[in-house]
């Protein structure tokens, strides 16, 4: 029920008196908001007074309307002015004296690490994937045929001495001593041309010490096509090593013997630490022996029913631990298998 004029005027004056007694410019943030809602809100004091004007006569409206409007615009402007003032004060306080000690430790979202050997395999494989080599896999428990015989290491061949072998109890099986059996398995199921890499675990029956591990990793590679020559091998390996160790890396191919390649080569890279000047890592030779490779032996090709007169290929094998140890400066191969988090956390992919 609307107020009588007298009542309206009394309330109106009371509102003015309140404002006079408690100037808007002196209100703090909380009481300003309370004031705004109480006076100007949807059901606020002044809002109601203004709404009720419509029930008065025209004369009364002419008399009271401007008074009320005048008051409203005054309050509006003062409230908004005071609001701006208070915001500015608060911003000033927050931006100049936040009270925060920003030297306190930050909350760091937990971030794990890939094993350094995974990272090394990924890097090696990544280079060859770019060169069109596909990823291949094979079993770790192998037959004698795939691990030795098919690779031109027949039974009672002295080259078997080069790789001491773990045998499975009660079965004619062994733990593969090299990733090379994957060459055989791949060529048994696919015809050339082919390019594969096979990263994986290999096993040697030897005592574990700082530089020897009974379990380690290799990345094997195989490329078989028409007209592949030793020159293709040299080019591919040199490019790979430059990608891995930097564009300035020089490579050196030296003769050696592997039963499954002919000709065979040991590949050396210019020492990554002294750039070939000679340092303790390269035993002052300027060169570091890094991988073995060669042209696929014609007997190996024949063993997978591939005619060596029409197809030829090259193969290589890289020791993953050796690369990781060289590049990361790890001196004890056993650290890779101990899994001390203080060790593992050191190997972080660089952002830049």
């Amino acid at each position: 029920m609307a107020r009588e004029k007298a009542q309206w005027l009394e309330d109106f004056d009371a509102l003015r008196a309140e404002i006079a007694a408690k100037p808007i410019s002196a209100l703090d943030r909380g009481s300003l908001e309370e004031f705004r809602v109480r006076i100007l809100g949807r059901k606020g004091w002044l809002t109601e007074l203004l709404k009720e004007l419509k029930d008065f006569s025209i004369e009364e409206r002419r008399e009271l309307g401007p008074k009320a409007q005048d008051l409203k615009s005054r309050i509006d402007s003062e409230v908004s002015q005071r609001q701006k003032q208070l915001e500015a004060q608060a911003d000033q306080a927050q931006t100049t004296a936040s009270g925060l000690d920003l030297t306190l430790p930050a909350f760091r979202p937990p971030r794990g690490r890939l094993h350094p050997l995974t990272a090394t395999i990924d890097e090696i494989a990544g280079i060859f994937l770019q060169m069109g080599f596909s990823w291949a896999e094979g079993p770790l428990v192998e037959t004698d045929y795939h691990n030795f015989t098919a690779l031109n290491i027949p039974e009672y061949h002295p080259a078997r001495d080069l790789q001491d072998t773990f045998y499975v109890e009660g079965l004619p099986l062994l733990l593969r001593t090299q990733t090379s059996p994957v060459q055989i398995r791949t060529m048994e199921s696919q015809r050339p041309p082919l390019r594969i890499i096979c990263p994986g675990r290999v096993f040697r029956h030897e005592a574990v010490d700082a530089t020897h591990s009974a379990v380690f990793h290799q990345v094997e590679g195989l490329c078989v096509d028409k007209g592949i020559s030793f020159a293709d091998l040299k080019g591919t390996i040199s490019l790979f090593l430059q990608k891995l160790f930097g564009a300035k890396t020089r490579t050196l191919f030296r003769p050696t013997y592997f039963p499954f390649t002919e000709p065979s080569a040991d590949v050396y890279v210019s020492c990554v630490f002294c750039e070939g000047k000679g340092c303790p890592v390269c035993k002052r030779t300027g060169w570091i022996e890094l991988l073995g490779c060669g042209l696929v032996h014609p007997k190996v090709l024949r063993n997978v029913s591939c005619d060596p007169e029409s197809w030829s290929g090259f193969a290589f094998g890289i020791g993953v631990e050796r690369v990781a140890m060289l590049r990361l400066g790890v001196s004890d191969i056993r650290s890779f298998y101990e899994n001390d988090v203080r060790f593992l956390r050191q190997f972080d992919e660089n952002l830049v």
């Binding site: 937990p110 770790l140 009672y156 020559s229 080019g235 899994n339």
Partner: protein, 797 residues
């Protein structure tokens, strides 16, 4: 193989330093592992001048010399005939040491004191005996240390000879290889000239011609077995062999000089008057020269006399017929044995020797006769007596067919552009005699180069001789096909990336475990495990049936070393015995203890790890798999025993069981000293995971209208699992319930015993309009009514 540089130089006139030579050898494919410098093998020998010679008062053949060593005059007894006043000679003074361990002391010879010894070349290990003292150049300075001036020194190269090159396992062999590479001729040696043969040789019968294609025997009589002269013992000592006696030393010398293993039997210990090369009969045994008894089997080739095996062919002689100081008659064997036969015997008997090492790699089949003649010549010289003519048995090894090779084919294999004349020169340096016919050659490999079989071998020889560096470098020009990852590798890369993102570090463990370590994991030993026949140690006998035992060892190590938290995962293979095979399967496992993040000063940010966190890691890893769900835990596989069955769940995708996640079994936690750490574990079947296929991601429109959120606290009996509460609400609230989050669980004050309060946050919304308050209220009421009906749940007062 140990190579004496002085000895090598007897075969080829090298003037390289050993450092340069070893670089060159590496270039040829032979790694020199060490170079050892040997000094003179004597000390305390000075250069002295003979001042006066008088007859020994008590012996006609001896003289008494006064010698001047530059400091004092000494009186020395000497037996040599070639002495004269004024000569400069090497004098071993009292305290001197000579080769063979002889030391010079003050001594009385026939009653006269001798204050030293005038030395011959042989006594100093500098040459063969010539019956007199070593007379030095008149210009030599008296008083100088003889070792400094004349002391011969040697360098011993430890050369690694690859298994394909047994022909280089001797001084002659390596010299031959160097000759081909350096273009230097081998030193010509006169053919051995044994004096007129005497007597007869025992007949040699070969019962196994394939195993022994060539056997050369000789009978030696009237032998005088004794110490070898210094030049011989010196040579053997230089390369690390122990001199035994003149006859045995000669056989070892020929082995290291020519690469032909020889064996000498004491003829008086042989019976039956014949030598027979045959396979052992079942049940035969032999005591070998190493003093051990060996049981022989019919695949072991032996050298027998009329009665029994006297040697394991190519491996080792028998002790009974071994040469001793008493031996006066001997039978000398020089033979070629089939390589696999020798290797088989050597492996079977676990007996290796310098002979077996060479025979199993392949000796020169044409060498036995020549080596026998060379040995006979030396035996006559050093042991005296007489030598019979050689008994030759066996047809020998047939000449291999020539290899047809051309420069074009070699260049094709190598990708090189070598001139035909250069390739020809390379091949000629290995074996000169071949014909050039229409650009192709029929190359006859020498008898000692068993490794040369095909044109590829000759391409390698050419590359070695002309240097690998002279071959160009290029990239294959074949068309590129897209490189593919295996599915397993593609999934593995993504899984690793996810787990790394959750703060886990990747671990690599060995594939071997011990029964003891498995027992600590409550995994009972089982015939289903794959095992090693020849483990390195007790700790490494079983091929791991699960990944978790290894990861728990890692966690225990980190805890022991004080790490406040360790969160590790591993992707690797586990093994199981299958009929006639070993099953290998990829698994993915993790162990977590300690807070996920580093310690933080606002505790609310760093919750302790618990089973819900581990479950979260598992679910987020598997996020996106269709039908991913939790099921009650049931132990499966070996790793099942590691889980606390009361605090673990099984994970499934549809009907595929993926694995389990949960708390570590308290018994296992105790065994690994991880009780305080509240470790949680998971192990997933990675192969099962890889076999699943998730649907491709498709865009779904996001609502443009505001959502309404209501928080409800209900009180419900604890026996009702949360999943039932959630299901009841989802059923009742309808499709407009977009998400349901549990934001608090409370038991205790104000909540009746046996009940708990759950605070749930319900979010409602539609894609096409804003929901009205009344619609939301109705959905909430329906949910509450359903909860009340299903499990008597009430709104919390």
């Amino acid at each position: 193989m140990k190579i004496s540089y002085n000895w090598l130089k007897e075969h080829i006139a090298l003037d390289w330093s050993t450092a340069d030579l070893s670089k060159r050898l590496l270039h040829m494919g032979f790694e020199v592992e060490a170079i050892e410098r040997l000094g003179p093998r004597f000390s305390g020998v000075v250069i002295a001048q003979i001042a006066e010679i008088v007859r020994h008062p008590n012996a006609d053949r001896l003289s008494l010399c006064v010698v001047d060593d530059g400091k004092e005059k000494l009186s020395v007894v000497c037996g040599a005939k070639n002495i004269a006043v004024g000569q400069k000679v090497p004098l071993a003074r009292v305290g001197a040491r000579l080769p063979g361990g002889l030391s010079i002391g003050k001594s009385k010879i026939r009653g006269v004191e001798s204050q030293g010894m005038i030395c011959s070349a042989e006594e100093l290990g500098l040459g063969a005996a010539n019956g007199g003292i070593l007379v030095l150049d008149p210009g030599t300075e008296v008083g100088a240390d003889f070792a400094k001036t004349f002391g011969e020194s040697d360098e011993i190269l430890d050369v690694e000879i690859t298994p394909n090159r047994p022909d280089c396992l001797s001084h002659l062999g390596l010299a031959r290889e160097l000759s081909a590479h350096l273009g230097l001729p081998l030193t010509a040696r006169p053919a051995p000239q044994p004096s007129a043969p005497q007597g007869d040789c025992w007949p040699v019968a070969i019962d196994a011609p394939a195993a022994c294609p060539r056997y050369v025997g000789r009978v030696l009589t009237g032998l005088k077995i004794g110490p070898s002269p210094a030049w011989l013992s010196g040579k053997l000592e230089a390369i690390g062999l122990r001199p035994i006696n003149n006859l045995v030393d000669i056989t070892n010398f020929i082995l290291m000089d020519l690469g032909q293993p020889l064996h000498a039997f004491d003829l008086d210990r042989l019976s039956g008057g014949e030598i027979r090369v045959r396979f052992a009969a079942a049940g035969e045994t032999i005591k070998a020269l190493d003093g051990k008894d060996y049981a022989l089997t019919p695949d072991v080739l032996v050298i027998a006399d009329g009665e029994r095996p006297q040697a394991i062919a190519g491996v080792m002689g028998g002790q009974e017929s071994g040469v001793t100081e008493k031996t006066t008659r001997a039978f000398l064997e020089s033979a070629y044995f089939n390589p696999p036969v020798v290797r088989k015997a050597s492996q079977k008997l676990r007996l290796r020797s310098d002979s077996s090492y060479r025979f199993e790699r392949g000796c020169d089949p044409d060498m036995p006769a020549q080596a026998s003649a060379r040995a006979a010549e030396l035996i006559l010289k050093l042991c005296g007596g007489a030598v019979s003519p050689a008994a030759l048995a066996g047809a020998g090894v047939a000449r291999r067919a020539p290899i047809v090779v051309s420069a074009a084919r070699v260049n094709e294999i190598l990708g090189s552009q070598f001139e035909s004349k250069d390739v020809g020169a390379c091949l000629r340096s290995i074996c000169a005699g071949f014909e050039d016919k229409d650009g192709a050659w029929a190359f006859q490999p020498p008898s000692y180069r068993g490794d040369l079989e095909t044109v590829w071998d000759l391409a390698e020889e050419t590359a070695r001789l002309l240097s690998y560096e002279s071959i160009p470098s290029r990239l294959p020009t074949a068309p590129l096909k897209p490189a593919l990852l295996t599915r397993r590798q593609a999934v593995a890369e993504r899984a690793r990336k996810r787990l790394q993102g959750f703060g886990l570090c990747e671990a690599y463990n060995y594939d071997f475990v011990s029964a003891k370590a498995l027992a600590a994991c409550r995994i009972e030993d089982s015939p289903g495990f794959a095992r090693l026949a020849n483990p390195i140690s007790e700790d490494w006998t079983i091929l791991r049936p699960a990944l978790l035992p290894g990861l728990l060892q890692n966690a225990a190590l980190n805890a022991r070393r004080g790490a406040p938290s360790a969160r590790l995962f591993e992707l690797g293979k586990v093994y199981a015995r299958a009929p006639g095979a070993v099953d290998e399967r990829h698994r993915l496992a993790a162990v977590l203890y300690g807070p996920p993040a580093e310690a933080f000063w606002k505790p609310a940010r760093a919750p302790a790890a618990d089973v819900y966190e581990a479950l979260g890691v598992a679910l987020e890893l598997l996020c996106g798999l269709p039908g991913l769900s939790r099921a009650p835990f049931e132990p499966t596989g070996a790793e099942g025993a590691l889980f606390n069955p009361g605090a673990s769940v099984r994970l499934q995708a549809g009907k595929t069981i993926l694995g389990a996640v949960g708390q570590l079994h308290p018994q296992v936690a105790r065994a690994f000293d991880l009780e305080r750490h509240g470790a949680t574990i998971m192990e997933l079947d990675f192969e099962a995971l890889c076999a699943l296929q998730a649907p491709a991601t498709r865009f779904a429109a996001v609502s443009q209208f505001p959502y309404s959120r209501r928080d409800l606290s209900i009180v419900v009996e604890k026996r009702h699992p949360y999943a039932a509460v959630e299901a009841a609400i989802r059923d009742a609230a309808g499709a407009e319930l977009l998400s349901l989050d549990l934001i608090d669980v409370f038991e205790g004050k104000g909540i009746p015993e046996g009940k708990r309060s759950l605070t749930l946050r319900l979010t409602f919304g539609r894609d096409d309009r804003t929901l009205k308050d009344a619609e939301v209220a109705a959905a909430v009421d329906k949910s509450l009514a359903a909860l009340k009906a299903a499990m008597g749940a009430d709104l919390r007062a």
